[in-house]
Symmetry: D2
Amino acid sequence: MAIQVSVCGPRDCTEDDRRNARELGRMLAERGAVVICGGYTGVMAAVAAGANAAGGTVVGILSRADREHINPDLTIVIPTGIGEARNNVIVNSGDAVIVVGGSWGTLSELALAMRRGRSPVVQLGGWRIQDRLGRPIPGILHADSPEHAIELTGLWR
Amino acid sequence: MAIQVSVCGPRDCTEDDRRNARELGRMLAERGAVVICGGYTGVMAAVAAGANAAGGTVVGILSRADREHINPDLTIVIPTGIGEARNNVIVNSGDAVIVVGGSWGTLSELALAMRRGRSPVVQLGGWRIQDRLGRPIPGILHADSPEHAIELTGLWR
Amino acid sequence: MAIQVSVCGPRDCTEDDRRNARELGRMLAERGAVVICGGYTGVMAAVAAGANAAGGTVVGILSRADREHINPDLTIVIPTGIGEARNNVIVNSGDAVIVVGGSWGTLSELALAMRRGRSPVVQLGGWRIQDRLGRPIPGILHADSPEHAIELTGLWR
Amino acid sequence: MAIQVSVCGPRDCTEDDRRNARELGRMLAERGAVVICGGYTGVMAAVAAGANAAGGTVVGILSRADREHINPDLTIVIPTGIGEARNNVIVNSGDAVIVVGGSWGTLSELALAMRRGRSPVVQLGGWRIQDRLGRPIPGILHADSPEHAIELTGLWR
């Protein structure tokens, strides 16, 4: 069974996020990992495109019960039909979870992954979480490049 | 149909969170609102206790498929059996969502409520979310007391 | 905490189903039970109307994430947003499950309730399930009237 | 994107079911289809073993949030964590749904697939569904062998 890495990020992402996601997809595919993503546009499409171009396998875990609006680079499509609750399925499916960029949906995935506490959670760009006194909440691994994100997962040490 | 208010917060909460949640439960019940919560301990138990003592109705939306570990102040029990995905159900069920205190599970509910974007989201205590430059992400209504939280929901103006 | 009884049945139901569901709703409300249903039309609307007219509490567990298309007799609305997966939530929420009439969605609820195996499952009208040799699969309690269905739940013995 | 076929069936299955499922797995893999299954034992393990032995791809859509109790022949593992609600995900993921053998869980999948109404639903062995007058409910395609089941999906005409 191959290593599975979930990559989460916004539909409406920055150009930086898109570049990072695409590069992550490529690097994960080259290492033989299956990429798990949300299956739609933005970061989801970029990581799928990067992985697909490198010959990798991409699983799209959709919120909808049908295949409307999916990106063209998915190998396997899982139309859960459970709406935003599918974020839990994405997060549960990764031996590591990498979050690229920031949005409320993305933050929910980051939080669910930390709540789960079973796999490394790596963040590349995006939002910051602090306690009431302005101190960062510990636990998230912060990467400054796709390469660094891959390294921080600890899956290829 | 009564107004429904979802109150989210950690199992392991501070004494302040507990007091705030209990007070919120009481105030919501006095206003005739149905309280929606996660049904277990910590903030969930405190808000249920406060509402129940004031004669209100409390719905516990459980992660488990059975009634193990529920708090004693629920009027109606919904054992979803869908695990942490039940956070979506809690958030979707509120005409407003009030978040008390901070934890990863709680943050996922805050993020899902903001992602949904249909109901006011009020935060009392707990964690802070910022962009990369340290600026707060706009949209969450910050309360400094249970009374203020009730007021910020805008449901009793 | 009140007894909770889940009542399942088709959107497109027969007049008999509708009459039976309405009567069941009334009888459950008179016994102080909370009625759990799917919240939309057909059997769901009839059981809600019967319970509501008798002063009972009705919880609608919706497939949608919003309140579109709900019937007018719900006391509490739970917009799960998890699509047909909400059938599991309905079934898990009943101290007994009563199924009125037949459809594929209704059959899924009957099967999930039997699969769960924790609460009595009573069928009033609707489809029949047999093994390959034409023998009925045991376990479902077959009622011939709303009164009989209530009796078969065993909750008011 | 490859054709995806969901194969459902009981944990506690007959020897016939097991043989049929294994043969189905082999035939689907030989045709290049991705097999979607529940990931555990019985029919789920048999179809996975058949597909895996023929070099195919098998996706296990688990009820649990972790990988406990999975069979050894899965290529990709999706630990949904949503309990029995994952039956909806299995059913939604198939360009066709093939049901082998009978149990309450399996019947729920058959019913959900018919309720969905988007993909052919083929039954091989297992239970029969009739209306109150003993007439079979139309719509399910009944196969008498794995080969026949494949043919009835209509995916390789």
